[in-house]
């Protein structure tokens, strides 16, 4: 068939139609060129970014959390890098593609043998491993906090979709011994308790980031640039001395066991610097074992549990009386019989006759101290209690720190003022009580406590009592810890010690039960006090419950060990000790 036979073609088309067509096509091509130029040269960012995304990736550079150290740079808490084993499902491919490229099948295609191998290395059940591997999309942790050598062995298997991600795990070399001070962190390395929480900010590091080039299987081929360098967290140096901490911990543990007590706390303070040298509670816990991080053992009782202090508060009333000039060391106080307030009567366990103020403290007479307190208004007494820190939290940043209870003096009835003079009807924490004794161990002034190491001790704190009063109360407290006092068991051969016992009934449901809290707070050496030790035993129930029987021996042992460990020179004669005179100077003997 010839085209010329078509009558339509025989007709000549007008020339403009072909030209018009050409112009239209050129305009369209021009449009394409402009668009191509636009994308290539002007607005190229979007596609360039898209392209880069295929091969480059921004990965975080982990930063480690700072260490917690004791005063001699011993490690109390430290993070080390471990791995999280992650299973990642690739977008699933069709059977055909999977056959064509068998190396690139998704994670869900791990063989049963491979899963078993993986489960063995992870020390997990293989069914659990199989369940944790995502089916279609997404990713899941198979196991977190895996030791580096195990992670290496898993990576060496080269299983598709199984990767190791860096993370940190916190270790506490001293375990339960310093658990309450140091606290612990959660899975994400954030502080949950203790110093870890209180000092979370300075301890936390800042993650950095880096850009890397990856291959199609998302393995890092090359590091391109560092976007942000990681900043490791800072170290925190505590005032705690691990030697003392261990001594206190083990002595407290022994005492709680011996007296079948429910709990106990003990603290050691440096009276010159206000540093907390040791702080132990029983029961305690092992922060390395995450399974048991709950329940009562977590309580840092010295800070969070309040108790009625009992007689340990009496020296403050005596100091108030001496400071006001209305009483002296020798002023006689009639302590015979009982003191009646309406239907209430206050008496002593062992009746006394007429005692001097010093003897009231030495023998711990409730009647005597209540009579002294009655000479003062509730406001005057409240002021003293308030100034030494009762009723307000210590504000050391510790979680759950209790304030204790000290009621407004406007509502005090005479009987309440009397009971408060011997430490009932109010509550304190052991830490508050230990700190309050700073006024006697120092010359009447009160300095803030510190959980971190203090290099320049505060010179003068808040002056609560005069230096003269503090010295006289020190003598009274030395008598109390002496042969005629309530706590001869607090004595330490070679050192002059001072302190006060406390035996308080426990309040249960608004009434006083036949359960006790035995406590002792004291300091040594009296000639130049260096350390304050406070001990509290909750519900001793093995026949003895007096502070002088239960808490004083603990005080004595802890103080003895503290003085010897720190090389404080003895300030008293040592009759039971053997003395040896050295003719040649001996090196290293303090």
């Amino acid at each position: 068939m010839k085209l010329a036979h078509n009558p339509l073609l025989a007709e000549l088309l007008p020339a403009w139609r072909a030209r018009a067509m050409l112009i239209v096509m050129m305009v369209l091509f021009g449009g394409l060129f402009v668009r191509a130029f636009w994308l290539q040269a002007v607005d190229n960012e979007f596609y360039q970014r898209k392209g880069e995304e295929r091969f480059s990736k921004v990965l975080p550079t982990p930063a480690s959390r700072g260490r917690v150290l004791d005063r001699n740079e011993q490690v109390l808490a430290m993070s080390t890098q471990v791995s999280a084993i992650v299973a990642e499902a690739r977008p699933s491919r069709t059977e055909a593609k999977a056959k064509a490229n068998p190396r690139d099948i998704g994670a869900e295609k791990l063989s049963a043998a491979q899963i078993r191998q993986l489960a063995d290395l992870l020390d997990m059940d293989h069914r659990e491993v199989a369940r944790k591997i995502p089916e279609q999309r997404g990713r899941g942790y198979l196991k977190r906090q895996v030791a580096p050598d195990v992670a290496q062995r898993i990576l060496a298997l080269k299983l598709p979709g199984i990767r190791a991600e860096p993370e940190y795990r916190r270790y506490y070399p001293h375990g339960e011994v310093s658990a309450h001070v140091v606290g612990f962190t959660g899975m994400d390395d954030k502080g949950l308790e203790g110093i870890e929480l209180a000092m979370n900010r300075p301890l936390t590091g800042q993650e950095g980031s880096r850009r890397v080039i990856t291959d199609a299987r998302r393995n890092v081929v090359e590091d391109v640039e560092t976007l942000k360098p990681p900043r490791d967290g800072g170290d925190v140096r505590l005032a705690i001395d691990t030697r003392l901490q261990f001594l206190v911990h083990s002595r407290l543990k022994q005492a709680v066991g011996e007296h079948k007590a429910r709990a106990g706390s003990a603290v050691v303070l440096d009276s010159r610097t206000g540093e907390v040298l040791a702080l132990a509670n029983w029961p305690t816990y092992n922060p390395n074992n995450r399974a048991q991080l709950s329940g009562p053992p977590l309580r840092n009782r010295a800070f969070t549990d309040t108790y009625e202090p009992g007689s340990t508060i009496k020296p403050f009333v005596a100091a108030m009386a001496l400071d006001a000039g209305r009483y002296s060391f020798e002023t006689p106080v009639d302590c015979t019989g009982k003191l009646h307030f309406g239907r209430y009567a206050i008496g002593d366990a062992h009746p006394h006759g007429v005692l001097s103020v010093a003897e009231v403290i030495q023998k711990s007479s409730n009647v005597g101290v209540a009579k002294i307190a009655a000479q003062f208004t509730p406001e005057e007494m409240w002021r003293v209690y308030d100034q030494v820190g009762f009723g307000s939290p210590l504000k050391l940043g510790f979680p759950g720190e209790a304030a204790g209870r000290l009621r407004n003096p406007a509502g005090w009835k005479p009987v309440e003022q009397a009971t408060m003079s011997y430490g009932h009807g109010m509550s304190v924490t052991l830490m508050q009580m230990a700190r309050a004794y700073l006024v006697f161990a120092r010359d009447g002034d009160l300095i803030p406590l510190s959980l971190t190491r203090v290099d320049t001790p505060p010179i003068n704190g808040l002056q609560v009592f005069s230096a003269q009063t503090a010295r006289e109360v020190r003598r009274m407290l030395e008598l109390a810890a002496g042969p005629g006092g309530t706590a001869p068991k607090a004595q330490i051969p070679g050192y002059r010690v001072a302190g006060k016992t406390g035996t308080a009934h426990k309040l249960e449901g608004g009434t006083y039960a036949n359960k006790y809290i035995a406590s002792f707070v004291g300091f040594a050496p009296v000639s130049d006090p260096r350390y304050i030790v406070a001990v509290m035993i909750d519900e001793p129930s093995n026949g003895m419950h007096y502070g002088g029987q239960v808490a004083a021996p603990v005080f004595s042992d802890i103080m003895n060990a503290t003085l010897r460990a720190t090389g404080v020179a003895p300030d008293a004669a040592m009759p039971p000790l053997q003395m040896a005179r050295v003719s040649v100077p001996v090196k290293g003997v303090p």
Partner: protein
């Protein structure tokens, strides 16, 4: 004129090649730096583990336990303590 062009083209070529090689060198140096960083992190991890190990081995609880059970040691009783009176201290 032609000679100048040839020279300029050669210079341009040299500069282009040196640019490529400089970029390559910078890449490989960065990779090396990253590798060293990696090594540093690994060594830091190891150091940390050693510190923890030392801390655990030297923990007072462990030492006192070993001293008491393995070496059969005990703290001296108060009447067993002899205090040395050094002449230096007297002075």
């Amino acid at each position: 004129m032609l000679r100048l062009h040839v020279v300029l083209i050669l210079v341009l070529l040299a500069s282009a090649i040196s640019l490529v090689s400089a970029q390559h060198r910078s890449r490989s140096l960065h990779t090396q730096l990253e590798r060293e960083h990696q090594r540093m992190r690994m060594l830091e991890t190891e150091w940390g583990q050693l510190q923890i190990e030392q801390g655990t081995l030297a923990a007072h609880a462990r030492i006192s336990d070993l001293a008491e059970t393995k070496l059969k040691m005990h703290a001296p009783a108060r009447n067993q303590v002899i205090v040395l009176d050094s002449p230096e201290a007297v002075q």
